[in-house]
Symmetry: C2
Subunit: 446 residues, 2 copies
């Protein structure tokens, strides 16, 4: 299995390269592109890195499914266990997605001491600690650059380059579909449903876009990023989550007047004892480093105590893009595995994985808030509305009021206030006869 | 020397951690911060990574020099060779800067099989191939994330994460001082000298700013990035270089009218047989991903064939920021070295380093150009000017003409044209009596 292919005086571009046996679990958008890149790029990769990763076996759930790229049937294994168990397979590449059987297969591969590369965000966001523990216990290399942000290099920077720094804040636009939708709503005044249909037409939103729109996709990615950044075991269940369903074009327009843009923002903060992790629509200042991230692009802001604010941006998705960094990971783990574990990376904690930390309750957030209300347009109403804010100790920073006949739009920005108090304000406003509706309450991230 | 410090039931925060002996060459802005971070962050780093890098010896050129952080004199070696030769030193951290004695010391450390971390851009831009060869020959780990862009993670993404992709383009704003100067000139209409004085007052421009202003600093960084991105041996001498000395506030104002901003841009392109590497002032569209990079920030655009356009940005400099990633590198090479070279990373090419490739001559560039002229303001002059462009087959894309009494400013944007032809146009214009001056010719990067 381990045979250096030295260029035996042959003419042409054959480069020396040490073969590495790869097993592929999944042959969809990413898996097929990994296969293609390893085939087409073999000479170049060998010349550049000295490695020649070669797909030895492939498993798919449904071999009969029609595919954009034809399955190399000669490599097809009867099932995924046969790939993981194949002694010719040193690196298991899990690009099938979903929790099971991905979890069982990845754990089994690690238990056998194989290197694992995965781009499965759900698996890592849900079972990240278990998978990391298994890798540490078996001293088996594990890499997952493709799990967050497509080809944007963010996992290794957090895991390795910034390992000595203290990262305090991670903020991200982590879902391309919702960013596309909000961009269209902002720039072209489209309705959410129309923008979503267009994203689906362009092929980057799923037919069932509820994972995107509801913030589940971004929450899973945030759990992975926060775990790395804060050296804590954060799962997607820890992440407070609110989707973009309620964001109205009117909020976007008023936000712009106030100097803000509306984004579906993933926010992670290391508060010391606890971590604050949440995904929700947010007003961010037009000068915020993520404010200019438009269309389906993704971007991540990392604030290190010493490194300062760093921004990483890119397409964030796509089979070919993700495949490129999956192959980067294959090369990386191949090196780690072959170098052996002699006097290897020392054990970190007993379990080899970061500890869990309490999650800061969203009710205890102290941040500014945006309010969009409709009130009866007559004298004295605003004083009554303002009194409620005052009584709940929510201080108003700025107000826009626009009459629309019998009712008036009132848009408010508060100073920093506790979310629990903001919720009391909302409940009291809703009970007032002069308040027609509290249409929106959106968190502000400065 | 290799003794795992297991937490022997002691109370408090002591974490297990395998000690790694570090030798520090240089104790300036970066070196002193590396020392501090390793001291102050030791427990956290050990808990997180399992390693406990410890500075064993330090060498400085002038121990008597006053320093912001006091030298730990008990670690002071008689000279740098004593640090490199110390058997307790496994990782040599070269943060002294300059070509010699840095080169000799780094080569000697590698020859002895020690791991080397350097943040020395000049060394790598000039002797990168020699240093890489020495590392490959000795199978000694070499890391240099801190050499380009301060704490912006860009070296490892290019070297590892994107190793399987084909990177076609690298564009960067790689010098903080000049970006600050151009930002002030653009936003506040300052003169270059005033903006430069302000950068010096703020402490991020050297007293002698000629390395910054002349583009030398950016050229060295580009040589390193292009070498990694294109897998080619590029030195700073290969980089065509033009500084910002001739950029006038007027050009910046006209560029804005035309929808562009002026930046000192580092451009690297892989043209297949040859590489195009240059640093010069450039008009870039206001929608270009680097157009909004302001003040002293740095940013790098990487376009991978599969990964698509990725942007990395951050402060780009600073002792503490650079120190953070230098320590990240120490942790990385410690792991690589300890895992041993058993069946290690295979040899790449015979020499272990990428080959040199021809450099595309700047005369053969085919890109758009910006012209700023002053001409006599009378009928028929513009036709004569335009005729020269036509005769040299430089096609004009747009024109702004503004009368200022007896003379008129003429600002032109060309379509793509060969630089050699553009130079002929300039020579002919300068010989015309109706042309008062050709004030500026600036390359356009779309």
């Amino acid at each position: 299995m381990v045979r250096p292919l030295v260029d035996g005086g042959k003419p042409g571009p054959a480069a020396p390269g040490v073969e590495v046996g790869v097993g592929l679990l999944g042959f969809g958008a990413v898996g097929s592109q990994v296969y293609r890149l390893l085939e087409e790029g073999a000479e170049r990769i060998a010349r550049r890195t000295g490695w020649r990763p070669t797909v030895r076996r492939i498993a798919v759930l449904d071999p009969a499914r029609p595919r954009a790229h034809p399955l190399p049937v000669h490599l097809l294994a009867p099932d995924a266990a046969a790939v993981v168990g194949d002694p010719q397979v040193e690196v298991v590449v899990e690009v099938m997605g979903g929790l099971e059987p991905a979890r069982t297969l990845v754990l089994e591969a690690l238990r056998r001491g194989k290197a694992v590369v995965t781009a499965n965000k759900r698996l890592l966001a849900t079972h990240g600690a278990e998978v990391s523990s298994a890798a540490a216990a078996a001293q088996a290399p594990l890499a997952f650059e493709g799990a967050v942000g497509g080809a944007i290099p963010i996992v290794k920077p957090l895991r390795e380059t910034l390992a000595a720094d203290r990262v305090r804040v991670v903020e991200g636009i982590l879902n391309g579909t919702t960013n596309f939708v909000l961009t269209r709503m902002t720039r072209d005044g489209w309705a959410l449903a129309d923008a979503l249909a267009e994203a689906q037409r362009r092929g980057f939103a799923e037919a069932d876009a509820s994972e995107d729109v509801g913030g589940h996709d971004a929450a899973a990615k945030l759990a992975i990023l926060a775990s790395l950044a804060f050296d804590a075991a954060v799962t997607d269940a820890d992440v407070f989550r609110e989707g973009i369903q309620e964001v109205a074009p009117r909020d976007i327009a008023y936000a712009r007047e106030l100097g803000y843009v509306v984004k579906l923002l993933a926010v992670g903060r290391d508060l010391g004892e606890a971590v604050d992790v949440r995904v929700h629509p947010a007003l961010i200042p037009q000068t915020h480093p993520l404010a200019t991230v438009e269309e389906e692009r993704n971007a991540i802001l990392v604030v290190g105590e010493r490194a300062g604010p760093l921004v990483f941006s890119g397409p964030g998705a796509g089979g070919a893009a993700t495949a490129a960094v999956v192959v980067g990971d294959i090369l990386d783990v191949a090196g780690r595995r072959r170098r052996g574990s002699g006097e290897a990376a020392p054990a970190r904690r007993p379990a080899g994985v970061p500890a869990r930390r309490p999650v800061w309750p969203v009710e205890d957030l102290v941040i500014p808030y945006y309010f969009g209300l409709q009130v009866t347009d007559r004298p004295g109403v605003f004083a009554r509305v303002a009194a409620v804010f005052g009584e709940e100790e929510v201080s108003i920073a700025s107000i826009v009021q626009k009459s629309r006949g019998a009712v008036a739009d009132v848009v408010l920005l508060t100073h920093e206030a506790r979310e629990a108090a903001v919720r009391r304000v909302v409940a009291r406003l809703r009970a007032m006869d002069v308040v027609k509706s509290v249409d929106s309450v959106i968190r502000v991230v400065e």
